[in-house]
Chain length 150, copies 2
C-alpha cells in the first residue's frame, strides 16, 4: 500500500470513488461519465500545478482511497497555516480495515511537514459514522459548516 | 467605501480586527503585538503571492472590515471550483449598518468571477448571530465543521 500524489492515470478511479456515495448521488453526481470531461481534466491540472493543493491516493494494485489537501496561509493565530481536507473516500469493499486511519495519518504528516497549526474539514451532518471517525482522531466539531451552491 | 485586496499597509489594521473578538481572545490571540512579527509578514506575503488566495479589506479613511477568500479546484461535482471564506470581521463600532452584507456581496461577485459553483465557510457554533447572518444570505448549515489544533 502506498500513499502518494495522484497522477493523470488515477483520475478515473478517483472519480469512481467520489461517485460511489449516497450523498454524491443525492446531489446528482452518482454516475461517472465514460470519458472524463474537459472541466474535470482542467480541475486536475489546476490541482497538479498548485503547490498549495495535493490530490492524494492510496493504492496497491488499484486506487482504493483518496483525499484532497489544501494548504492555506492566514493572518489569524499568529500567521498560522492551515490544512483543509476535502473529498475523503475509501472504496466500499475496503472499508473497516484501518485504511481511512492510515490515510488520515498520511494527511497529518503532510500538515506537519508544511508547518500547519490547524487541520480542518467539513463533513455532511448525515455522515454520523464519519463524525465518530474524525472525533476519534482528535477533531472537534466546534463549527457549523455552511455551504451555498451558486 | 471601497472593497479591495489588502496591501502591506493594511496588515496592522487587519490584525486589530482579527484580535478584537471574544473567540480570538479565548484562543489567546486577543492582543496585537506592537510590531508585526515575521511569521505574520510571511503569511501576508504567501497570501499576496498566491493567485488562489485573496485577503480583502473594506475601507473608507480606515480599514473597517476584512475577510479572506480561497479558491480551490476539485474533482467533485464535475470539476467544480469552490470558494472558502475565512476570517470575516467588521469593526465593532461599524456593525449593524449593512457593511457585512456588502462585504459578502463583494465576496460572492469574486466567486462568480472565478467560476466557483460552491461557496463555503465555517463559523464557530457559539456565533449564533453569524449563523443567522449567513442563513439570511442563503447559506445552509449542512455540515459539521471539525478542527484539530496541532
Amino acid at each position: 500500500m502506498t500513499f502518494r500524489p495522484a497522477g493523470r492515470a488515477d483520475v478515473p478511479a478517483i472519480l469512481h470513488l467520489l461517485a460511489d456515495d449516497d450523498i454524491a448521488r443525492s446531489r446528482g453526481f452518482g454516475v461517472v461519465p465514460e470519458e472524463v470531461d474537459a472541466a474535470t481534466w482542467a480541475a486536475f491540472e489546476a490541482i497538479d500545478a498548485d503547490p498549495n493543493n495535493e490530490l492524494i491516493v492510496a493504492a496497491d494494485d488499484e486506487v482504493i482511497a483518496t483525499c484532497q489537501l489544501t494548504f492555506t496561509p492566514g493572518l489569524s493565530r499568529g500567521g498560522a497555516w492551515r490544512m483543509t481536507i476535502e473529498a475523503v473516500r475509501v472504496r466500499a469493499d475496503r472499508r473497516s480495515a484501518g485504511l481511512g486511519k492510515k490515510l488520515m495519518a498520511y494527511a497529518m504528516d503532510r500538515a506537519l511537514d508544511r508547518g500547519c497549526r490547524i487541520v480542518q474539514l467539513t463533513t455532511d451532518k448525515r455522515r454520523i459514522d464519519a463524525h465518530r471517525f474524525y472525533e476519534a482522531l482528535g477533531f472537534v466539531a466546534s463549527h457549523e459548516g455552511m455551504k451555498l451552491t451558486l
